[in-house]
Symmetry: C2
Subunit: 403 residues, 2 copies
Amino acid sequence: MKRIVMKFGGPAVETTEKIQKIAQKAIAAQQKGYEVVVVISSMATIRRELRAQAASISDEANKREMDVLIATGAQMTSALLALAIIEQGGQAISLAGWQAGIQTDYRHGNARIETIKADSITQHLQEGCIVVVAGFQGVDASGNITTIGKGGSETTAVAIAAAIEAQQVDVYTNVDGIYTADPNVVENARKLTELSYDEMLELSNLGAYVLHPRAIELAKKYDIPVIVRSAEQDIEGTLLKGEVEMEKNLIVRGVAYEADIIRLTVGFDSNEQASLSEIFTTLAEAGINVDIIVQAVIDGVKPTISFSIAKEEFAESLRVLESSKLSLGFSFADFEVGLAKVSIVGSGMVTNPGVAARMFSRLAKEHIPVKMVSTSDIKVSVVVAQDQMVQAANALHDEFNLA
Amino acid sequence: MKRIVMKFGGPAVETTEKIQKIAQKAIAAQQKGYEVVVVISSMATIRRELRAQAASISDEANKREMDVLIATGAQMTSALLALAIIEQGGQAISLAGWQAGIQTDYRHGNARIETIKADSITQHLQEGCIVVVAGFQGVDASGNITTIGKGGSETTAVAIAAAIEAQQVDVYTNVDGIYTADPNVVENARKLTELSYDEMLELSNLGAYVLHPRAIELAKKYDIPVIVRSAEQDIEGTLLKGEVEMEKNLIVRGVAYEADIIRLTVGFDSNEQASLSEIFTTLAEAGINVDIIVQAVIDGVKPTISFSIAKEEFAESLRVLESSKLSLGFSFADFEVGLAKVSIVGSGMVTNPGVAARMFSRLAKEHIPVKMVSTSDIKVSVVVAQDQMVQAANALHDEFNLA
């Protein structure tokens, strides 16, 4: 039997009316001959309410207990969706993370899926049920409830697809596919019919948060086709897969941007004291995601290390650096807020030297100073002032003929 | 180490401020040298919201999925309470029903606790944690989430106390103890310092819903002292235990009443067709609680069976009777709404003949017709018109000198 995993979240689960529409879609997929698993996120209103309640009790809430609290959100929507499917004449069963066999590591709030014991899911599928799994959650080896952090529901969907050997994952979102740039910001942005996992990875890592990179990495690893499509309209989406035919002359496939970046810099008195590995190990152990890293030397002897982080992790980063100041041995720390990252992405870049140069010269022409740079085989990212982000994105979209 | 189980629900868990007060109480109990388990219910607002969402999807919601939905309520408050205890410097861990080892039967919405595998609870107690258990829920043998129905949280509290050999259960409520009658209705009602399990059982079965009879039965079975006390004020409550010293001249210890009673009557053409066991087996299998049962014969040959049920079970009862009409073989069914039950309770009754007679004659003097009667060793109940309920309760409180 062909199997499909459908993932719904965000605005698509905001009301019980919308949940009833998801039920229709799931039943329709089953009637087309699929065995259907639906992964569903929490209503955002509920998640906000839960966070507000916790915040009224504690400024720095215990992470294990936050997971217990937050996990209730998707458990609710999973039950409501199962109710809606049954009400419409279908057969359905909801499973919380622990019931679906989703085993994670112990990192509360940002756990990683380790294995999925899919026996329960497959058994219910074979009984003819549409299986509704509460996204974003699992249990650690000691049976504590964990949440899977950003992109948790997409990641759950892809991981389940791998575990039950599903044919594809349909991710229903508030956009109808992947665009060459954010259509809200870049006027001539165009929808792509296909995109490789790697290109999508770079795009999503760069703030085009249609799909979380963890989900794409997992899809790439197990080679599972993922379709990003509209939850509202029944139109074609964008297919993510391993190999994508090059669209002619398209060196750059998309422009992405991300606001609310902060640059942190730590400085050392001498080279001996500066240990990149110690700093980033310390930050990683605290679960802080560092993005761009730049090393420089001031006055010929004093090394500095700059790195960019998301705004939400600013307070925690400062706390970690402060409490590790002695062991890390830096002599000063400094930061810059109000930054943004703008990037160009495309598999064609690797065979086309001079793409970065063309990018920098266009930004210079637009009088946009570049504060940090990072490159990979298929992308170039620059950090600029946040108030120039939109201008930069439009200029680059134009420069590389993406319209 | 002495152990105590504290149970909070209703108005005591309505806001995060109130949950912070519970945290104080739990920490104070621990500081007195107890190992502390807290059983906490859902916020009523959340429960109502969840039910409303389900109702917007389905008129007759699937019971398994309703349990998944409703169980999130207490999981939330348990996490919030653990957060509050930790914020106040204590050590705490929340456990959902399945984590606390609460194994129930399969009856969704009205499950019974079968066993409690308390290893997890006792382990965390020994580590110095205040263990917060989400009340009202468990899992069946197949790992489905169940809810324990009316009085579920009290029952959970007493069952846990039995499993961990706790010294007592403190039930924090919106009343400060058990009264000779409802003080809102009977002006001269008086608080009792002690009450036997049996007396309390009759009182609670009769609508004085301070404690659910299931919880009291369990407390009686394992001989666990239960203290009913105020969540708001720090004053003495009422102690429930096995043996209570007779208060002088108090044949009757309390007056209870219950509104929204419905009488159902089914009639048969001949004695051969009337099977009490078949009717009540059928109703029991549908999970309907029948209270008073009266058998009568009309015209010397036609037997009728009348029984009282709670208003909420009226629709389901009619449905069950209708669909079993052929197999049960009755020729007509009939009902009367707008009824109430008023009862007198007291262990002294068994050695005092004439208590029922005194009750009936006082009601006659008050011109209150009695529609059904039921008696036990320690109580007499009558069904009267609902609009005469308060008058009847006051008259009986006065008649038996309870003020």
